[in-house]
């Protein structure tokens, strides 16, 4: 294990610090140490005090856990609730009403729309268009930013309809929801969703006009895959190199490890290999499961291979998923009939259970052990960003040499853009990102 930052540069090395990395969800730091034109270390550091959620939930009931884990993240609370509730329901052998299942997918659609709209337009697009922030983008491209707000409002409305509020929703419980909307309540969202679908289509067209730095690699991609659906809450954990395991069996293939430069655990395969989750992985592994309108959008873009190989084109994957999420939301609402009861009864039983769902940023795995009293005895929560951390470091190591001859500010910007491509949610993994380059011998 290397502790490069604890020492000054070695002979032949020099360092440069880049300060804060902005437009990343959360706070942390990146340090690159470069020697003779080669990156010798790439560390994505996360400094916030370690998150104690895995301990906070011990001694709590499953329904309490669902409320607690929603607080892990302000932008993907639905994901945390879904992974937890499905884990409990798997152990308790609960089968929810099909309409409740559909509502949970709708819930996820809302979260994806909120999250992807924010990232595509306000966090990532400024990089592609050469603006330092969304303010300048809004000044020159008002319509672009207004599209973001149209989508975000719709995502917020969906989450608020199902969860009683747009952030940290309240209604998810084991067996279903504490309340489900009427058909008329959902139909009232239809006009906004129609607008959002058109806007999502415009987003795909917008993305098609962008150009990204050349950077290709052949990453190991991991996502859920379902026999019939684009994955959100169900399926099997698969990869593009042949992994195919049950949804609760994450630990059969992966493990977490502590590294010195980060408060968040990093995940790798048991063989120590890095892997990438998120929209690019989902689109690559599940293109045939996208909503037909999203499949058309992906075909129109003609970027499937670039989405797989170049991380900058994750923006295209998000745009395609915006089409998918809005189109699926419309379909779910069209087929909705309010269930007789919002939840089914359940009985606790002791044992261990795990489940993964697809958060906006990728696979989110939860594992719980429940004791004879029906209380949590142990918990493991593995967010997508902590799983992506090692892959981000590997990509930075591969990419950095190509920008070292650029002026410092431009090289920094390129590296920042690369990190933003993964939409890291460091608050989930823990909280804040600050970029530091230690450049040697240039």
């Amino acid at each position: 294990m290397t502790h490069g930052l604890a020492h000054g540069p070695e002979p032949g090395e020099h360092n440069f610090d880049v300060g804060q990395l902005t437009r990343v969800e959360g706070e942390g730091s990146l340090t690159l140490r470069v020697r003779d034109g080669a990156v010798v270390e790439a560390h994505l550091g996360i400094f916030e005090a370690p998150r104690y959620f895995e301990r906070l939930v011990v001694g709590r009931t499953p329904d309490e856990v669902i409320d607690i884990v929603a607080r892990i993240c302000g932008i993907c609370p639905v994901a945390y609730q879904m992974s937890a509730v499905h884990a409990f329901e798997a152990l308790f052998d609960v089968t929810v009403d099909p309409q409740v299942r559909a509502l949970r997918r709708l819930f996820y659609c809302g979260e994806w729309i909120e999250s992807h709209a924010l990232h595509v337009y306000l966090l990532h697009a400024p990089d592609f268009l050469g603006y330092p922030s969304a303010i300048e983008l809004a000044r020159d491209h008002r319509a672009v930013v207004e599209r973001a707000l149209t989508l975000k409002r719709t995502g917020n409305a969906l989450v608020a309809m199902l969860g009683a509020r747009p952030i940290h929703p309240l209604t998810v419980r084991v067996g279903g929801f504490s309340r489900v909307p009427t058909r008329d309540e959902l139909l009232a969202l239809r006009p906004a969703l129609d607008d959002a679908l058109a806007t999502a289509g415009a987003t795909v067209d917008f993305v098609a006009t962008l150009s990204a730095p050349e950077f290709e690699r052949d990453p190991r991609l991991v996502a859920l895959r379902h026999p019939d659906e684009y994955p959100t809450n169900d399926g099997r954990i698969v990869s593009n190199d042949g992994l195919d395991i049950p949804i609760g069996a994450w630990r059969e293939a992966f493990e977490e490890d502590q590294v010195s430069w980060s408060n968040a655990l990093q995940a790798r395969t048991h063989a120590g290999e890095v892997y990438l989750l998120g929209p690019s992985a989902r689109v690559t592994l599940n293109a045939d499961r996208l909503h037909p309108l999203a499949q058309q959008a992906l075909a129109r873009l003609g970027m499937a291979e670039r989405i797989r190989r170049n991380p900058y084109w994750s923006i295209a994957a998000r745009a395609v998923e915006l089409v998918h999420a809005t189109a699926e939301a419309i379909d779910i609402i069209a087929g909705y009939a309010r269930p007789d009861r919002p939840f089914v009864d359940w009985q606790s039983r002791p044992g261990a259970t795990g489940w993964a769902t697809e958060a906006p940023r990728g696979l989110l795995f939860h594992r719980y052990e429940i004791d004879e009293r029906g209380l949590i005895a142990a918990a493991q929560i593995v967010p997508p960003t902590s799983q992506n951390q090692a892959a981000i470091e590997a990509d930075l190591t591969a990419f950095a040499p190509s920008v070292l001859d650029l002026p410092h500010a431009e090289a920094t910007l390129r590296l920042e853009q690369l990190i933003r491509s993964y939409d890291p949610c460091i608050s989930c993994a823990t909280h804040f990102l600050d970029l530091r380059l230690e450049e040697t011998d240039r």
Binding site: C73, I75, S133, R142, R153, C425, I426
Partner: protein, 169 residues
């Protein structure tokens, strides 16, 4: 003789009550609002915002003076700062709310200004935070600063309303 309409000031309360010092503005707002204000000719339009968002700012409508309150980083723990929103936009690396998952406050306001038909203006009042971990306790510097924080919020409202705020804090 008609009674003049109450002056409207919009108070946007940011932060997370579960994140120690990040809940300071929420606590301060509760204390501040213990006494009604409307009958004194001032109408406070109060919104709890969590992390301030462009959609939220625009949907609330513009043209009403804003007082945005939050816990902040970039200043000493316990230091209370009052900044015109113009200054906040001009110095984006200055005091900023310590939270994530959205644009920083200067960009939220900057984007909202670009898209809004009417002016978005007012004051930011912040207290420097030290502990943003989980829990509902305040760090010692923030706890000691709470009376000054409330006083600064009151002063900001008075400044925008052009009249005293009859609050108990």
């Amino acid at each position: 003789m008609t009674t003049p309409a109450p002056t409207l000031v919009r108070l946007l309360v940011c932060g997370n009550v579960d994140r120690c010092d990040d809940g300071a503005a929420i606590w301060a707002a509760h204390e501040l609002l213990a006494d009604a204000t409307a009958e004194y000719g001032l109408e406070l339009d109060v919104h709890q915002c969590g992390q301030l968002d462009v959609v939220q700012v625009l949907d609330l409508g513009s043209g009403v003076p804003l007082v945005i309150i939050d816990c902040a980083t970039g200043v000493d723990a316990g230091e209370v700062v009052t900044l015109p929103l113009d200054d906040l936009l001009a110095h984006p690396r200055g005091p900023s709310p310590h939270s994530s998952h959205a644009l920083p406050i200067d960009q939220v306001l900057g984007v909202a200004r670009q898209l809004s038909e009417a002016p978005i203006d007012g004051l930011f009042v912040g207290v420097g935070g030290a502990d943003f971990g989980f829990g509902r306790t305040f760090s010692t510097p923030v706890r000691k600063a709470l009376p000054a924080f409330i006083a600064a919020i009151t002063a900001a409202i008075e400044r925008l309303a052009g009249q005293p705020v009859p609050v108990g804090a």
